[in-house]
Amino acid sequence: MLMGTAALALLGGPVVAACGSTPPVKDLDALIGALERAHDDSRLAGNAAAVAPPKIAATLSVVADQRAAHATALTEELTRISGETPTPSTTASSSSTPTTSGPPPKPPTAADVVAALKQSADGAALVAAQQSGYRAGLLGSIAAACSAAATVALGSAGATP
């Protein structure tokens, strides 16, 4: 056996799509929840990056990109199983215009992003255990990515709250 290919060779085909099965609505709700969190975290990290010191800003931008990639993957999966592109209910909040007449909101910090990522990681891990097949795997990878970003990438940037 060639070195370095053992795991990949053994595990090359774990993505088995559940063809023809109509998922219950619970599945869709859980995925839509994960999708909204991915959008929110991406936006939060992007906003925090805009006002953070350069080194942490670079990491926050990576996190923003990765959460956006999670949103894309979840959108693809939702589209695949429901036959239609999900309409994100959070796009309305992407406008930064404050709707109330209070003081302008403070820009988010890296610590805010860490807190959000930890919540997202916990949520995705819970949903992953309830799902099966590819969806479980996707959500597990998302949970793992959020944990690593919160505890290592941003943890070492001094952002631990």
Binding site: M3, L10, L11, Q130, A136, G140, A143, A145, T151, A153
Partner: protein, 159 residues
């Protein structure tokens, strides 16, 4: 990652059930990783001692948990290979960190497969936990060796 070196004809056979097979594979990967961390340890600087020992302890725990679950369902777990081939020459701390990252990435792939194939919630919980630990440990090794970014978007996945 480390791959088995030489044939061991007495090795248990891989189960046919997909969930059992994925767990069997993950335990086999953990065997190789535990072996590989011996090499990592040998070539790491003292700065990495804590990271080496934390990583190794984590993999031992996962291996034992995986073996226990296989035994529970009457599946003979895989045994460690006589030896393992490394994917590249490791003769300094840089190579050691690179091997550690590579092994954690392979663990992530193996545990994600367990997650996708599992039919029991508690197996999925174990797999998510293992996948997360692999992602976090890989990130720690990247950070320790100055690799940027330290995190990937889909640990264990190909998205």
């Amino acid at each position: 990652m480390t791959s088995p070196d030489g044939g061991s004809s007495t090795a248990p056979s891989r189960p046919t059930d997909a969930a059992d097979a994925a767990l069997y594979d993950a335990v086999a990967v953990e065997h190789g990783v535990i072996y590989g961390y011996g090499i990592v340890s040998a070539h790491s600087t003292p700065d990495a001692n804590q990271l080496v020992s934390d990583s190794l302890a984590g993999h031992r725990e996962l291996r034992e948990e995986g073996i226990a679950r296989l035994v529970e369902r009457k599946v003979t777990p895989p045994i460690p290979a006589v030896g393992y081939q490394l994917p590249f020459v490791v003769d300094d701390p840089t190579g050691a960190a690179k091997l550690a990252v590579r092994m954690e990435e392979d663990c992530a792939v193996a545990w994600r497969a367990v997650l996708e194939q599992a039919t029991a919630v508690d197996d999925r919980q174990l797999a998510v936990s293992a996948l997360t630990r692999a992602a976090v440990t890989a990130a720690r090794w990247r950070a320790a060796s100055g690799v940027v970014p330290t995190v990937v978007a889909f640990p264990g996945g190909t998205e």
